[in-house]
């Protein structure tokens, strides 16, 4: 072979071996993630070599924790993670869908079919399914007043696959309310405006929505108030510390007095800035008002001293993103220079207080008017619990955002997959000429992997379930799977809805990757042994 001429160490896997390597890798990955799917899936506890614990039911997190070596598996994993990046959910579904497509293809190829023909069939089926999805989706009207009920149902569907029911239901309201809080008419929703903050608390498992902001640092002066009411909030990005400025880079002093003079001059300009802020405070603050500075740059002890003497609370080195959030939560605007200080640039909060946990300090900015930014505060006994809730909250937020932006949802519990499969088999397949029909059929059967896996994870008999679902569907009903008893249910009544964009992305990406993998007929790797089992 020509490759061998170029590199004697190169190893070449030809047609069938190459194909089986990729198919096995896809199936392997599917096996790992399969048990995650749905509200009856198992949670995975990963204990690392150093005893670190990771707890997850999220396919995305699990993939990132795994040390994947096989090139095919990496390709699939990247697609799945990209799915999560784009639509916020559906990682597990992507992996098992691709795995199932490969599995169905394997059967056809073993019977002598050429991968090319299969791939053509996939393409036809994909387009037909996307078209079908357009008709199948349930439109939701998202006017100025969003339909809170439907949002809650979508969020609940997502959250219940990640957390137990009670906790999921508690989070549902929080997640929906926080997205509605940051939603602005005519603008895309920026989920970063919801801060997710966590506290490690010995016994407490609790999550709450703070209308306002929680910062993970406090003031750095002993005399500053720990609790202040009626606060004017100054959000700024002004250095209030003495630093050698760039301008003086080439300047050298020749004696101690000159040095002193330079230092005092520098210091004075910092003090000037502090004084301007104090002036503003005096101008706006009444008897019972307080003044809080939240600064992105540093504030050194002398400046803190000056501010503390005036009863001002000051926080330094705030997160860049919090500057944006603060303005949205409290009003006013971020100030970049003391020359821009005006009473209008100030925001307002009813209550600012500090909470100390060991060496960690938290500052709560609450009771704000018309907040457009908020914080979800998660308390948990240990890191892995917090991390898991955090992941779930993120997924919940994404599902609500998707619903608002899609202005439609898709019936869940496997209803879409069953309906689409029947559509492909009963309608589409007949319109296709020749052997590509088999590709369409393989695609249609692969869709069923979602209800099958749901059933399997719930401990039901998959064949029974599929038969009862398809026959119920052929009677003309839209049916999903009841995981309690394996009977068909109406997902609409049960309130089980999935995101439209997640499904669309899944149907788009799955066949593309599967087709690419199927068309690989030679794997070449220079100088390394592929057949050796990799861990």
């Amino acid at each position: 072979m020509s490759v061998r001429v170029l590199n004697p160490n190169a190893e070449v896997l030809n047609k069938s071996a190459a194909l089986h390597m990729t198919i096995n890798a896809a199936k392997g990955l599917q096996d790992v993630l399969k048990s995650n799917l749905g509200p009856k899936g198992t949670i995975k506890m990963l204990v690392g070599g150093s005893g670190d614990i990771k707890l997850t039911k999220d396919g995305n997190t699990l993939l990132k924790e795994m040390q994947i070596q096989n090139p095919t598996a990496i390709m699939i994993a990247r697609t799945a993670v990209a799915q999560d990046d784009i639509s916020g959910d559906g990682t597990t579904s992507t992996v098992i869908f691709i795995g199932e497509l490969m599995k169905q293809s394997e059967r056809c190829i073993d019977e002598g079919m050429h991968p090319r023909v299969l791939v053509d069939g996939f393409e036809i089926a994909k387009r037909a399914t996307l078209l079908f999805l357009e008709n199948f989706k349930t439109p939701v009207v998202m006017g100025d007043e969003a339909d809170k009920e439907i949002l809650k149902m979508v969020a609940r569907t997502t959250l219940r696959t990640k957390l137990y029911e009670g906790l999921a239901d508690q989070l549902t309201d929080i997640v929906v309310n926080s997205v509605l809080c940051i939603r602005k008419p005519e603008e895309a929703i920026d989920l970063f405006m919801v801060e997710i903050m966590h506290m490690r608390h010995k016994f407490d498992v609790d999550t709450r929505l703070v209308e306002g902001l929680v910062l993970d640092h406090g003031s750095r002066h002993p005399d500053m108030k720990r609790r202040a009411e009626n606060c004017h909030i100054l959000t700024c990005n002004v250095s209030l510390e003495y630093e050698k400025s760039e301008i003086n880079a080439g300047f050298f002093y020749s004696n101690a007095e000159q040095r002193e003079a330079m230092v005092t001059a520098e210091r004075r300009s910092v003090d000037e800035r502090v004084k301007k802020i104090i002036e503003l405070k005096k101008k706006v603050c009444g008897e019972n008002d307080n003044f809080v500075i939240i600064n992105q740059k540093g504030i050194d002890p002398p400046s803190l001293d000056l501010l503390a003497r005036e009863g001002i609370v000051a926080l330094r080195r705030a997160k860049r993103r919090n500057m944006e959030r603060l303005v949205l939560a409290c009003g006013g605007e971020a100030v970049n220079s003391v020359d821009d200080l005006t009473p209008e640039s100030l925001g307002w909060a009813g209550l600012v207080y500090e909470h100390v946990l060991g060496e960690e300090k938290y500052t709560f900015v609450e009771q704000v008017r018309n907040p457009n930014s908020c914080t979800i505060l998660i308390k948990g006994p240990n890191d892995h619990t917090i991390a898991q809730i955090k992941d779930a909250v993120r997924d919940g937020l994404r599902s609500v955002k998707n619903t608002i932006e899609d202005e439609c949802v898709v019936l869940g519990a496997g209803a879409f997959e069953v309906a689409a499969r029947q559509h492909l088999i009963n309608e589409v397949k007949k319109t296709v000429q020749g052997r590509a029909q088999l590709g369409v059929e393989a695609f249609a059967n692969a869709l069923l992997v979602v209800p099958k896996t749901l059933a399997e994870n719930a401990g039901l008999d998959t064949q029974d379930v599929i038969i009862s679902l398809t026959s119920e569907h052929d009677k003309g009903n839209v049916v999903g799977l009841n995981l309690m008893d394996g009977e068909p249910i109406d997902p609409q009544l049960a309130g089980i809805f999935d995101n439209y964009s997640v499904k669309r992305q899944l149907i788009n990406a799955g066949p593309v990757i599967a087709s690419q993998l199927l068309l690989v007929d030679e794997v070449i790797r220079a100088g390394r042994n592929m057949r050796k089992p990799t861990a």
Binding site: S35, K40, G41, T42, I43, K44, M45, L46, V47, G48, G49, S50, G51, D52, I53, L55, K57, L63, K64, E65, M66, Q67, I68, Q69, I74, V81, L163, Y164, R200, K202, V205, R220, S239, E241, Y242, E243, K244, S245, E246, A249, G250, G298, D300, P301, R316, R317, K319, R320, L357, G358, E359, G380, P381, N382, D383, H384, T385, Q388, I389, A392
Partner: protein, 558 residues
């Protein structure tokens, strides 16, 4: 007090860092031990510059490095990424499924075995098991060390250790700029790293600088560059001292590939544009180099080679923590802050930001007739691709000497060291004197902690003095035989660095930019456009012309 925050990015950088923090831990231990040499008890060095005080939720006081360390996943060995101090205790570990009442599928990877050294530390803490002989520990370390945590005796804060998740590749495949390119920005990894840094910076009342160690031989160069870019935005006026450290292993292969050369050029040009002072450390081979006249190093083990670099790093940063109030006390002299050093080396006449680091370990004894010359000749460059024969009368130097000895086992006074250095410059025959030389002295030598590798030859005595006759047959003497050593380091801003700069510029031009260049596909796949490369070349040639005024004339003529 002026704080420094340390950042370590990449495998070898963390090896060096681990030794560095071992030195600090040893210094802290000796300072509080009433039985130790008084020289360690009042060293007049402020440890708070590097360390932070904190407290766990249980109210236990902690003292941990102000450190952000970035690692590949799985390279922390037996160390938990949360460190060792802030553990929530075993009770809360069992109630794992408070968030899920369904089935739990536990995947337990084989617990990694603690190496003998860590086991001894752990058992000492728990007061169980029988004492493990120091001798066995030292012996076992050389064989057993696989990752940098295996010989680290320092405790770390939970915010310190970061692992890059979801890369799905071996450390040996993470070997060029292109591979690391999107690592920082993807999957909010960068955000997490920046949050960790912010945690430490927020606490600082008056930060003097950031000490940034990066193993830029692979994909970490790109991670570091993105991180630095982010820092430049956030902490505009905080000077960054960048050390690029490379293990001899990473430069072993005799024939560098096109991609290696381009990687070196690009990573240097990106990183140097984002810091105030760039110090490349890492010789292609330590065994054959002059740096190891009294040391037996070997190139294979990063555990051994990193120790030499860590000692130089320690010595070179000592001036930043001398108590400024005692500017001329009997223990230390001539404290500096990061900004002063940067201006000293880069701000005079020539704007050269690439410095050479020389080190003498152990530093020679000051007594004896030929003392004048030994100090300067013993200082050997740890920076690769340096032209030692160059005469540069514009050079600027900053030297730092720790614990120099006057005779067999007597530490020299600060004034004696100063005089000796003056004298050695006076009597130097071969070399052109530098334009300016700054000298900082501390009487406190480098303590050799237990997990320090056995790298000393048989001419090194218990206090690091150089003996006239071999003391024993053993070629490898370690922490049990040598308790402390004097170290001298010197920063040089000199045209001796020109070969380093020129080779990078040449490779970029020849392999990346020229029409039909061999590496143009490589750089394109790394996502660099032609303009970007040209801008890099522009910057590099500006650096070269700072040091070599003829350069512009010659390149203009054609």
């Amino acid at each position: 007090m002026r704080e420094i925050v340390t950042i370590q990015v990449g495998e070898f950088a963390n090896f060096v860092g681990s030794h560095f923090w071992n030195f600090q831990d040893e210094l802290l231990g000796l300072a509080s031990d009433p039985g130790s040499d008084p020289i360690f008890r009042n060293h007049n060095l402020n440890m708070d510059v590097l360390y932070r005080s904190g407290e766990t939720q249980q109210g236990v006081a902690t003292y941990t490095p102000r450190l952000v360390s970035v690692n590949l996943k799985g390279s922390l060995g037996t160390m938990s990424s949360r460190g060792t101090l802030y553990n929530e205790g075993s009770s809360s570990r069992s109630d794992s499924s408070t968030t899920w009442f369904g089935d739990v599928d536990t995947q337990r990877s084989e617990p990694r075995k603690r190496k003998l050294f860590l086991k001894s530390l752990y058992e000492e803490e728990q007061k169980v098991g029988k004492e493990i002989e120091d001798k066995d520990i030292v012996g076992s370390l050389d064989e057993e060390v696989e990752c940098w945590t295996d010989f680290s005796k320092s405790h770390y804060h939970p915010q310190s250790l970061d692992e890059l998740n979801g890369l799905w590749m071996d450390s040996k495949d993470f070997n060029n700029y292109g591979i690391g390119k999107d690592v920082f920005s993807e999957a909010s990894r960068g955000e997490e790293i920046c949050d960790r840094l912010r945690f430490f910076v927020e606490e600082c009342d008056h930060i003097q600088g950031i000490k940034f160690l990066v193993d830029d031989s692979g994909g970490f160069a790109a991670v570091a560059a993105d991180f630095l870019e982010n820092m430049a935005d956030e902490y505009t006026n905080v000077p960054v001292l960048l050390y690029s450290v490379r293990s001899p292993m990473s430069q072993m292969s005799p024939k560098k590939t096109v991609s290696n050369k381009l990687h070196d050029a690009i990573s240097f040009s990106r990183l140097s544009s984002l810091c105030k002072l760039f110090t490349p450390i890492g010789l292609p081979s330590l065994t054959g180099s002059k740096a190891s006249k009294f040391l037996n190093l070997g190139d294979e083990k990063p555990y051994r080679s990193s120790a030499v670099y860590a000692a130089a790093l320690h010595a070179s940063t000592i001036p930043f923590r001398m108590q400024p109030t005692s500017s001329d006390s009997s223990e230390v002299s001539n404290s500096m802050d990061v900004n002063t050093l940067v201006q000293l080396l880069t701000g005079r006449g020539r704007q050269n930001i690439v410095a050479i680091l020389d080190s003498a370990m152990p530093a020679p004894t000051l007594a004896g007739k030929q003392l004048e010359n030994t100090l300067l000749t013993n200082l050997k460059a740890l920076t690769p691709e340096v032209n030692e024969d160059v005469e540069d009368n514009q050079a600027v130097e900053s030297m730092c000497i720790l614990g120099a000895l006057r005779s067999e086992d007597k530490e020299a006074l600060v004034s004696e060291v100063k005089n000796a250095v003056d004298a050695s410059y006076e009597h130097a025959i071969t070399k052109t004197k530098p334009l300016f030389c700054n000298l900082s002295v501390s009487r406190c030598p480098l303590p050799v902690p237990l997990p320090f590798p056995s790298i000393f030859g048989n001419l090194v005595g218990i206090k690091g003095e150089i003996l006239s006759s071999p003391v024993s047959d053993s070629l490898y003497r370690g922490s049990l035989d040598v308790h402390s050593i004097p170290v001298a380091t010197r920063w040089r801003s000199s045209s001796a660095i020109l070969p380093f700069l020129e080779s990078r510029m040449g490779h970029l031009e020849k392999l990346g930019i020229q029409w039909g260049a061999m590496g143009s596909d490589v750089v394109r796949s790394w996502g660099f456009g032609r303009e970007e490369l040209q801008e890099m070349r522009e910057n590099l040639s500006k650096m070269v012309s700072e040091l070599n005024p003829q350069f512009f004339e010659s390149s203009d003529s054609d």
